[in-house]
């Protein structure tokens, strides 16, 4: 699974310095604090991190679905085909949502409207974005249900969400999200709420369908197994920032950032001995209110140095081709050319 990057074509999505704050009673929460990454046509990237690291807020910010108030996108750009989504008028933004960029969410039990038939929920997207009439939209909706592996789709179209199992509902969500052949699919922990046995099927389905219609995927997850299985590149997030980014092989087998290494060591593996408890990173993620200029991971880091307590590390390029970038003071000497 190589990247589909070609030299003449720029990224289809370019997120630059995205910054989203939430105003709370306790203070300003810097949920996303200067996140940048790019996504090329047809590739799959992963955003990995613990709960509260800002993965979901990053992607909701891209779609401009942050509840506001209390959330607010402070600065940054989200360039989609060169246009900044953050400055788009609401009407044009709606034409992108669900059409060019679509999302599936963590909990399929609550993400579908319990009061409306599946057909209504599928058809409304098709009619809105593709201008199909009711009859055509219904036919396409049935075809989509069939493609995501729901048996007798024509009949099930008229059922309500509660008549579907969790895995089936996630399939419906996938059908809905891909029905307009989007350029980008943002999958926000699509398997977290599902049975383990179903997870692999759902991931496979996402992979297969997006490849067929050449949709790029942003996979948000805290499960490194998911990352290893399907992503081309990985962005590791901690405390609202991307701390390490690189090809998924690099990240998985040669992780540089102590946080990434900790995450990988926390994954149970069949090829390792079962003696001893499973590793877990000590401590808890930091409070994102009033975070001073330091490495937020240092209290939990086994390799913390004096400087970690005083300044946030810049991004160092490391690895053979310099394709991995890591925000960690450990690479001050070895890393090539710090970028600001």
């Amino acid at each position: 699974m190589g990247t589909h990057r070609s030299s003449d074509e720029g990224p289809i999505l370019d997120v630059r310095d995205l910054t989203t704050y939430f105003n709370t009673d306790e203070g300003i929460v810097k949920a996303v604090d200067g996140v940048s990454f790019s996504l090329y046509r047809g590739e799959t990237i992963a955003i990995v991190g613990e709960s509260g690291s800002g993965k979901s807020v990053t992607n909701l910010s891209i779609m401009r679905l942050i509840p506001s108030p209390p959330g607010r996108i402070m600065k940054g750009q989200v360039l989609f085909e060169g246009r900044d989504l953050l400055n788009l008028p609401p009407g044009q933004m709606r034409r992108i949502r669900g059409n060019r960029i679509s999302m599936i969410f963590q909990d399929p039990m609550t993400s579908l409207n319990p009061f409306l038939r599946i057909s209504v929920q599928l058809i409304e997207t098709l009619r809105l974005h593709q201008g199909l009439n009711r009859h055509e939209a219904r036919k396409k909706a049935a075809r989509m249900l069939g493609e995501v592996g729901i048996p007798s789709p024509e009949r099930r179209l008229d059922e309500f969400p509660h008549q579907f199992s969790g895995g089936m509902r996630q399939r419906v969500m996938i059908a809905m999200a891909l029905s307009c052949n989007p350029d980008i699919l943002i999958a926000d922990e699509p398997t977290t709420a599902l049975d383990v046995t179903i997870q692999a099927q759902i991931l496979e389905l996402i992979q297969e369908l997006t490849k067929r219609i050449d949709t790029a995927v942003v996979m948000i997850t805290h499960d490194l197994g998911v990352v290893a299985a399907m992503s081309d590149r990985v962005n590791v997030m901690y405390a609202g920032r991307i701390v390490e980014t690189g090809g998924s092989e690099d990240i998985f087998y040669r992780s540089r950032h102590p946080y990434t290494s900790g995450l990988i060591r926390s994954v149970p593996r069949v090829d390792r001995s079962r003696s001893g408890p499973l590793y877990s990173i000590p401590g808890r993620p930091p409070n994102l209110i009033e975070l001073p200029d330091l490495c937020p991971f240092h209290p939990r880091c086994e390799q913390a140095m004096e400087i970690c307590r005083h300044r946030y590390p810049p991004a160092y390029s490391v690895g053979g081709s310099g394709s991995v970038r890591v925000n960690c003071w450990l690479y001050r000497e070895t890393g090539a050319g710090a970028e600001k």
């Binding site: 992108i96 949502r97 997207t125 809905m176």
Partner: protein
């Protein structure tokens, strides 16, 4: 569905039977009786009265007779209002209470739900604060204050409306305005708060986020995805609210001299007018049971997860 309706309708009978039985005996446990006066009534007269109303029979016989009468839709003679039977007293007053109640409930529902939606959409903005302040006032100030204040301002000072009376009288529909406004206020307040809370819940729900992520315009999101779920708590409140409001608000009917059912609730109990007490209890129960039944059906219509099997 048809089965369900029949089953629920049949369920009405034992419920009513229990209500009638319990109230019949409880009201007779209360000290005093319909013919007790401050001045002692001569024994002779009392015995004659009791014989006339069959109160000299054993209680069980009276109960049996009463049940039999109720089955024929005859609620018996009033013990206190001579020459009136309970049927005619209720027939004369219930429609007035119904008119006042339906107008008030309709207004409370329409305005309350609208205020709830707008407040939820504009949470923590000026409109929200305004509606919710009005609602808090509506809940906190009792009817017996609101009514006379309205009367003072609009009838006495401004002279725009008649102080009291009823639509059959000289002033016609004008008499309906102040009692209806007074009665609407607390129900409006409660419904506005209830629907604001539930619409806020729905607006924050995952499925509404999904609807937005699909690119649907705001109006469609609200009307197709938000309203139905947001209305459910209000719908379940309609049942008891309807029964309370249409059987007459004692206070409002007294203040504005509306010839409604409300006063019989109080007076019949004070007078130990056994048959009239039973009549009002039955009317109230039937309305409550029917409304709950209706609300359950409506609920099932709104929420497909409710099954009737």
């Amino acid at each position: 569905m048809k089965k369900y309706v029949i089953r629920r309708a049949l369920g009405l009978i034992p419920t009513l039977f229990i209500i009638i039985t319990v109230s019949f005996f409880i009201i007779r446990l209360a000290p005093g009786g319909p013919f007790a006066r401050e001045k002692a009534v001569p024994d002779e007269i009392l015995r004659n009265l009791e014989r006339k109303y069959h109160m000299d029979d054993p209680l069980v016989v009276q109960y049996g007779r009463y049940l039999f009468d109720v089955l024929r839709f005859d609620l018996g003679p009033s013990f206190r209002y001579k020459d009136h039977d309970v049927n005619s007293l209720i027939a004369g007053s219930l429609p007035n209470s119904l008119i006042l109640g339906l107008v008030s409930l309709g207004a409370a529902l329409t305005l309350g739900i609208a205020a709830g939606i707008v407040s939820a959409l504009k949470q923590n903005r000026l409109v929200d604060y305004t509606f919710m302040s009005v609602a808090t006032v509506g809940i906190s100030i009792p009817l017996f204050v609101v009514g006379p204040v309205l009367m003072l301002v609009f009838a006495m000072r401004l002279g725009w409306l008649p102080t009291s009376g009823w639509i059959t009288g000289r002033y016609g529909m004008q008499t309906l305005i102040m009692p209806a406004v007074t009665l609407t206020l607390p129900y409006f307040a409660y419904i506005a708060r209830l629907s604001r809370a539930s619409f806020l819940d729905v607006l924050r729900s995952d499925y509404v986020r999904t609807a937005r992520a699909k690119g649907l315009p705001g109006g469609i999101v609200i009307f197709r995805h938000v309203i139905r779920g947001g209305l459910l708590p209000v719908v379940s409140y309609i049942g008891p609210a309807f029964a309370q409001i249409v059987t007459g608000s004692v206070v409002v009917e007294q203040i504005f001299r509306v010839p409604g059912l409300g006063k019989f609730f109080v007076q019949s109990a004070i007078n130990r007018d056994y048959t009239l007490v039973m009549g009002t209890v039955i009317v109230y129960s039937v309305i409550l049971i029917l409304m709950n039944f209706f609300v359950d059906l409506l609920y099932g219509y709104l929420d497909p997860r409710v099954s009737y099997d």
